[in-house]
């Protein structure tokens, strides 16, 4: 098992280095890296000193090394647009995005899994067909449109929920949370719903497809032939076998959550990393883009690793080897 973890860790590091390389290329060759590091108001002396420091006259590999070293420490220079340190900007925005993403993910799982199971078990029934139609709609509605519609309905027409911003936040050390205030919760409802829809649809379809596959297997047939109750077959055998691949695929799809958070934050002016990134893209703010890229890659890699380990923990075939006998 250790060999497995080690192999995965090495792969993770390789991916990170490759991504850092791309970020490095962005940083060095798209625009002026010195400007990125010092900001627009640097003096000539500072510029020259940094030029030497960065080793811009030195070999490619050395420059990459410098970049890597800085990156590992979270140092990505200064945002072209905002004038502040990139690391600070990201640290400020990170809690907002994470809270939004976690609530959306939680909702998606909480609702998506039961809906998928239901659609699989009651296949062909009216309610299951309705669910499938809803899921098709969920896939055909772009996230930003969902956000706009929700705003139109609940904020403009009904006035129940606010349509932008995060509401009142409470700072706990370095973290700022909106979940401890009523206003905070009010503000998070519509964005979270918007973000959930796509994920929910995905999970529901996945669960349904997996469960239908599982229900067709020989071991389910054998379980039926043994006269086990529907409850043990559906919610014991079938569900467990369904959730294992679903879990891994869902973990991998968390990336989608982060991507769609960008859109959601834009529609709702939610002060998270996604909004920061969009602003960076619109203004060609390279340091921010490079930093975001590396951070996202790190999050992905960590998620993938966790999912791999989880798979290991759940599937006995990976844990224990074969014992002999005829």
């Amino acid at each position: 098992m250790f060999a497995f973890i080690l192999q995965r860790l090495i792969q993770a590091v390789m991916v990170m280095v490759s991504v850092a390389f791309i970020a490095f290329l962005l940083f060095q060759y798209v625009g002026d890296p010195v400007l990125f590091m010092l900001g627009q108001d640097a003096t000539q002396d500072q510029i020259d000193a940094l030029r030497k420091d960065l080793g811009l006259d030195q070999s490619f590999l050395v420059q990459f090394g410098h970049f890597l070293w800085n990156a590992v420490q979270g140092e990505f220079g200064i945002s072209l647009r905002q004038g502040a340190k990139v690391s600070q900007l990201i640290a400020d925005r990170f809690p907002a995005t994470l809270e939004l993403a976690l609530i959306a993910a939680g909702l998606a799982l909480l609702l998506g899994i039961p809906m998928g199971v239901y659609a699989a078990l009651r296949r062909g029934s009216l309610s299951s067909q309705l669910l499938m139609t809803f899921s098709l709609l969920g896939v055909s509605l772009p996230t930003f449109l969902i956000g706009i519609l929700l705003i139109l309905f609940f904020a403009v027409l009904l006035g129940w929920f606010p349509s932008f911003g995060r509401g009142d936040v409470v700072k706990i050390g370095w973290w700022s949370t909106g979940l401890l205030t009523a206003k905070g919760w009010q503000h998070i409802v519509l964005p979270a719903l918007t973000l959930t829809v796509f994920q929910l649809t995905l999970i529901m379809r996945l669960v349904r497809a997996e469960m239908l596959e599982v229900l067709r297997t020989d071991y389910i047939k054998f379980a039926r032939a043994r006269g086990l109750s529907n409850r043990s077959i559906h919610f014991g055998h079938a569900l467990k076998n369904t959730l294992v691949p679903v879990m891994t695929i869902t973990g991998l799809q968390l990336g989608g959550l982060i991507a769609f958070a960008i859109i959601t934050e834009t529609v709702f002016q939610w002060p998270g990393m996604g909004l920061l990134f969009i602003q960076a893209v619109t203004f060609a703010d390279v340091p921010v883009m490079a930093a975001y890229l590396c951070l996202i890659a790190l999050i992905f890699v960590v998620i993938n690793l966790t999912v791999d380990l989880l798979y290991f923990a759940v599937d006995p075939r990976l844990r224990v080897g074969k014992v002999g006998g005829h």
Binding site: D218, Y219, K221, A225, R226, G227, N241, P316, R317, K322
Partner: protein, 331 residues
Amino acid sequence: MSLLQVQNLVVEFPSRHGTLRALDEISFEIAPGEILGVVGESGAGKSLTGASIIGLLEPPGRIASGQILLEGQRIDQLNNDQMRSIRGRKIGAIFQDPLTSLNPLYSVGKQLTETIQAHLPVSDQEARQRAIGLLQDTGIPAAAERIDHYPHQFSGGMRQRVVIALALAAEPQLIVADEPTTALDVSIQAQIISLLKNICKKRGAAVMLITHDMGVIAETCDRVAVMYAGRIAEIGPVHQVINHPEHPYTVGLMASIPDMDVDRERLNQIDGAMPRLNAIPKGCAFNPRCPQVFERCQQERPNLAAVARGGQNTPTQVACWLHQANALEGV
């Protein structure tokens, strides 16, 4: 009284090309504790017969007419809940592939105790003891430890033993075994077949053994039914059918088994192939391939009728005009 009676069972599959009759008026009986072999080529309908009996016919297949009686009670028209109390408890089943018959995420013990407790009112402790006992009976060494192992930790033959243990867990009176040894190594096949025979005899369970392997039939069964194109061609005590086959199809089958003691240049075979379900010939299904065909065969379908030969306690039944003509004329 017979344990299982199948009377004029018809199984149909509605399809885009019309309704296909996969089983066309099958009738047979199984006595308590008896081992009935059901033999035939792929597609003859053997597995469908088994599936119909345990009520696990895959839609769109359905039982169109006929009856299945277990201990005199009809079971073909029961709903799923009622069928559930019969499956496992009165009729057990064994399928072909031990690799895929067991849930890979549950330990063997869990699957056993779950089955036992689904049908018998026993405590967890007792269920576990019974499970260990079953594993021991099916010849799995170190049963008390291996009960907590997972299916992938067993080899193919061992897994099939576990499957047999599972089928017998709730002490059924009839086991439907659908090609139980086809997926196993040849060297293991003999062991598993003899295990099946012994353990069922010991527990007094009848067996419907579905296979295409005549050798297995000869070793194990008391009676055998030969199926062809969804119909029974011949049914009778195993030694009679094997040594004195009556139906030309059975004759052909027996002749095509290679004999090590006889030198031959070419293997015998039956010309032609079994007809597809949407192209079953009028009259006797075998008539296009039959070396002894005559006019009546192509017009009317023959029913099963006993062929009386001297010295038989139980005469073989054959669906063939040849023998009914004989029967009418007397022996």
